[in-house]
Symmetry: C3
Subunit: 138 residues, 3 copies
């Protein structure tokens, strides 16, 4: 269910791209309890001038090597869980790549469960929620 | 009103890109009753490793040729209509391109009608809704 | 807090890209009262066929040189302020670049204040709102 857009400098090594991708996914699995095989990510390599980031905001200084992670996911998770997710993503990226935790910017966009299809044109969560509620399919 | 981001493999032929673009637009016109000339799309060609998709999720297997369609549109359409949209998009793409229906991933993000401007800095739907309600412009 | 995605033709000059980036940021600062150092933007240069725009919609004609600005920001600003933002962005871009005001398309996506982290994995606005409310940090 999460659709994750990860944008980072074009000069990032393939190893770092993969490690960022993994760190974000593992954080979603561990903190948000997203299924392990629910993984959909778009990586954007941004050239010079295409990833604009303030040198400093809210007391945190940013280098010129920033990662921006935008996660579209289902709504309603408590704020405390979101806090944990941010911490896990930033620590995971900093621990496995050359990016600093200070340079990990995260934004969640929440979208209803009925707003997803994972192939074959099926509204998977509509069917899933109906089954759980014991409503017949037709 | 819909702003559509379509991401697909960089190696996709121009003919397939155009056919995907058309299939998504026609589905929006036919199912969501979007005006024919309300067409705004961003196509992202993703290189190797930049479009990360699970091999299988919810019983649907994915190849390495996946299309991800993210549609930002107005809120409040009923779930049944969204289901129809997904079916129409997936069938339209599979019918007109080399992509499989199983490889069409769709996500809707809903955004208020007042959140759009289609040029000249005008909040078009604010004016439109005001006119319909019979409220004078100033 | 705003995360701004700006998509424009790949052939756009560096000077125009910078001027568009500045115009959008200044409008957010002046109209939405976003802090000057709260600047996070992703510029997408789109090749031929990758930026699809209707020739005309709602009475506004578009050239083949269009700028699409999608701003993810906090929810709840009044419609009248959004109208001012659109006007300021379009005028700012038209005044400083070779793009026409008619070719500036804008969409806002609203996302809760708890949905942001600006580095170090901190949920900055959660902490900020807690402080303002006089709630102790732990």
């Amino acid at each position: 269910m999460p659709l994750v857009r990860i944008d980072l400098p074009a000069a990032t090594s393939t190893a770092d791209v993969e490690a960022v991708s993994n760190a974000v996914h593992h954080a979603l699995v561990e903190v948000f309890r997203v299924p392990e095989d629910d993984r959909f990510q778009l990586i954007g390599r941004r050239g010079p001038g295409e990833l604009v980031c303030t040198p400093q905001y809210l007391g945190i200084a940013h280098s010129d090597r920033v990662v921006i992670v935008q996660v579209t996911c289902s709504p309603g998770r408590p704020g405390a869980l979101k806090q944990q997710l941010y911490a896990r993503i930033a620590a995971g990226i900093a621990g496995a790549t050359t990016f600093a935790a200070a340079d990990v910017i995260i934004n969640l966009v929440e979208s209803l469960r009925e707003n997803w299809s994972f192939g074959e044109g099926i509204a998977h969560y509509v069917l899933q929620d109906r089954e759980r509620a014991g409503v017949p399919a037709s």
